[in-house]
Amino acid sequence: MWVISHCRWPWRLERRAKPSIAMRLASSPLAAVATVATGFLALSALGTDPIAAFKVFFIEPVSSMYGIGELLLKATPLMLCALGLAPGYRANVWNIGSEGQFTIGAISGSGIALYSGAAATHWAIPAMLVAGVVGGMAWAAIPAFLRSHFRTSEIFVSLMLVYIAQLLLSYLVHGPWRDPAGLNFPQSPPLPDSVLLGPLFDGMRVNVGFVIALALAGLSWWFGGATAAGYRMRVSGLAPAAAAYAGISERRNIWLAMLIGGGAAGVAGICEVAGPIGMLQPSISPGYGFAAIIVAFVGRLHPLGIVLASLLMSALYLGGESAQVELQLPSSVSGLFQGALLFFLLAAELLIHFRVRRTRRTPAHVPAANT
């Protein structure tokens, strides 16, 4: 603690007696403001008029109904993945492999559509969604099993499985599932129209996945607050020793957390392929599964916060795209915004438990040692 107090900096951090409720509410907006300010500087440095760039970045993408539909469409996988990750993160189970579970969910869901072909009728969509959930869960079960039986780190295992999942997808679309009529492009045949998730409203591309995501948000709220399983996961995250004392099974928490995360990511994957993409191709996600980690934390691991944070993150994606098209800015600008947002969010979180105080200027009177 007194490492901080040693330095000669005129400001110092002091632990608050109680976490500040005001800062708890203000920290996310504060981080958003700081992110925008950073963007302002970065865009100015690139020689772009920041005001015009902000207009292109934040206003134009959502100035039409179609744009709002796109906002919700892009928010859907982020929301689903992040909602799946949050209960685990609250329980100190660190699933980093949402992206991989998303990919496997997409593969297994599309598999049903591709193999049933023309026979796919009204039963096919629910079956695909279920297959997506099961696929994602199965992929997440691997790190869960290794962690609970061999104490491997679920962080590394789930992360490495992302690349395996992506290579599996690549193998499928280059090999056995490649569209014979696809002019040798690495992609599967298009999914039959009967199994595509149609738009919720005319003129927008957002599909039923968004409704599933909102329902999952409600379910997740209920799970965290009302169920004993949610309670046990919260205890494990807040105070592992208390969890051991109470006899809460770590193994059960790990399995539950990984399966929830995998299932949610899996359904996001199939909704993406059966929605806007319409077929399997080597890349089906611009990194939704990883961005969802940021979304989960920006949303303070709370369902409502995650819903809002996924909309914000989706706006950053859309803004980045339109900035690329209209201002010829590099696509990494949206990555810059994402990174800055996470950075400022973690920095602002410090202020919940600490406050900045000015140290007194009066010099200390230090008598000589031998007087």
Binding site: W2, A17, A241, A244, G247
Partner: protein
């Protein structure tokens, strides 16, 4: 007094420190002269620790002034305090297990010192003041008493003129306490001033020249301890008369908790292996386990609570069932309740409110139904606990971390008692708890015993064990001594046993001993 001739070593005037919700220090005056052993006496929460943190520069006062050897000073960091000549031995030592004594001390010194020279200096200081330590030894094999010596030697190497000791005897055997006192008297004779923080009245009367007594952040009196009685000091400390707990003789019932040849290798490289432990706790009796923490207390608790599973099913019997391979939840269903020594973080989740903290162990008492948390029942349960055990808090929705240590302990003990234990395991029941709350907790344990529960108390406080236990055993280096009726046991014997010197013959004669 010669205070007029030379300025006093340390003078505090009107020191006040306010935290968000409490006034920790309120206009405290204190004067320590050269060579004086000055006791700072007070209950937990009286403001002793805050005051010492101010003197040592860890925190700054909101108001008041500090004078060091006649000069006004503003102590802004521990490093500055050390430069002035103030040393502090903390209650919990910040030492690295994997380093040697000399390496640990080198890390803590403000200047760089040559390793060979440092070892020589350590040897000199330790010989001069009767603090035998070997600078080349690794920390992890050392007892708590030895570690304390390392801390004291570390302070002495910087030739301080004021040494602050925070509850230094809470971890020592009676014999080690006497050794420490000899060292402290010798240091005082050489002119070192000592600020001695404690709530143990006997020790203060034996050792200290002057005592300043704090209550609720204010100075409530000062005294020459040798001229006072325990009762008169306690009155200044607490503000009211105290009554003693009384244990009525009672015939115990059937055995409810049995440890049979329990041996448990530890997974923690610095833990203690339990060896051949035999113990029986019967319904309607309180059995105490004395001994210094670190002698297997943690491991024994975990083995009984189920946090660590025993290799054999039969090593632990709970209410007639073999329980050695059961996890904590099924053991709780058999009737075991457990109050661990760490309240915050183990006995309670700091960030959760008191009602939610009841759900931690209260699932069997209707606080969880059909997989759903019964929030209303949990709140009612918490309210009843707060009322029955006079817990001071902002209601059942106050977070556990907002309670003082003593009040949280009352709450946790109350929660477990209201869950109707058949067997109650409680570790360090009154550690850091004020005198009034200690009394309430001890009485609650006696009531529990009188109601027919089997109670096992693991504690370092010998006074407490002698006050409330029917029978007493000592845990030393992972072995348990014979369990002897408290009335037949001398304090000195316990002191000897705490060093591990209890013979196998006495063990074998014990009624709890099962043999191989």
């Amino acid at each position: 007094m010669s205070a007029d001739a030379a300025p006093a070593r340390l003078v505090l005037r009107g020191i006040s420190k306010r935290y968000a919700s409490v006034v920790a220090n309120d206009g405290i005056d204190l004067q320590v002269t050269a060579g004086q052993i000055h006791a700072l006496l007070g209950e937990n929460g009286a403001g002793k620790t805050t005051l010492m943190k101010i003197v040592y520069g860890v925190t700054q006062p909101d108001a008041g002034s500090i004078e060091w050897e006649g000069n006004p000073v503003d102590i802004r960091s521990p490093a500055q305090a050390r430069r002035l000549g103030i040393g502090m031995v903390f209650q919990h030592f910040a030492l690295f297990e994997t380093l040697t004594v000399a390496e640990n001390i080198a890390l803590a010194l403000d200047e760089r010192v040559d390793a060979v020279e440092l070892a020589t200096r350590i040897d000199q200081v330790s010989q001069r003041y009767g603090l035998p330590i070997d600078p080349r030894r690794l920390l992890h094999g050392m007892s708590v008493g030895e570690r304390q010596r390392v801390e004291i030697v570390r302070c002495l190497l910087q030739s301080p003129r004021l040494l602050i000791l925070d509850e230094p005897t809470s971890v020592l055997t009676p014999q080690a306490v006497q050794g420490l006192f000899r060292t402290l008297r010798r240091l005082a004779e050489e002119g070192l001033s000592i600020l001695y923080i404690s709530h143990k009245l006997d020790e203060i009367r034996e050792l200290c020249d002057v005592a300043t007594i704090l209550r609720n952040g204010r100075v409530s009196g000062s005294a020459i301890p040798r001229q006072e009685s325990n009762a008169s000091l306690a009155r200044m400390m607490v503000g009211t008369e105290l009554k003693e707990c009384r244990l009525q003789a009672r015939e115990p019932g059937p055995s409810q908790l049995e440890l049979i040849n329990l041996s448990l290798p530890t997974e923690d490289p610095f833990g203690t292996t339990l060896r051949q432990i035999n113990l029986r706790v019967r319904s309607g009796e309180i059995v105490g386990i004395a001994g210094i923490s670190g002698n297997g207390q943690k491991e024994l608790q975990a083995a009984i609570s189920g946090e660590t599973l025993c290799p054999l099913r039969g090593s632990v019997r709970l209410c007639g069932q073999q329980a050695g391979r059961l996890t904590p939840a099924p053991r709780r269903e058999l009737g075991l309740r457990f109050v661990p020594e760490e309240r915050l973080g183990r006995g309670a989740v700091p960030e959760m409110n008191l009602a939610d903290n009841c759900v931690l162990t209260g699932a069997g008492a209707g606080l969880v139904r059909h997989g759903l948390v019964q929030h209303r029942a949990a709140r009612a349960f918490a309210r009843a606990t707060i009322a029955q055990f006079a817990v001071k808090c902002d209601g059942e929705l106050a977070p556990a971390e907002s309670l003082s240590g003593g009040n949280l302990q009352k709450f946790i003990v109350g929660r477990e008692i209201r869950l109707a234990p058949k067997v109650m395991l409680i570790a360090q029941p009154t550690w850091g708890v004020d005198v009034g709350a200690s009394l309430l907790i001890r009485q609650a344990l006696i009531d529990l015993r009188d109601a027919g529960a089997a109670v096992l108390v693991i504690s370092e406080e010998l006074d407490e064990l002698f006050a409330i236990c029917d029978r007493l055993a000592v845990l030393a280096a992972g072995r348990l001594s014979a369990c002897v009726p408290t009335a037949e046991l001398a304090l000195e014997t316990v002191g000897v046993w705490m060093t591990g010197a209890f013979d196998a013959a006495a063990l074998a004669a014990s009624p709890d001993y099962v043999g191989h």
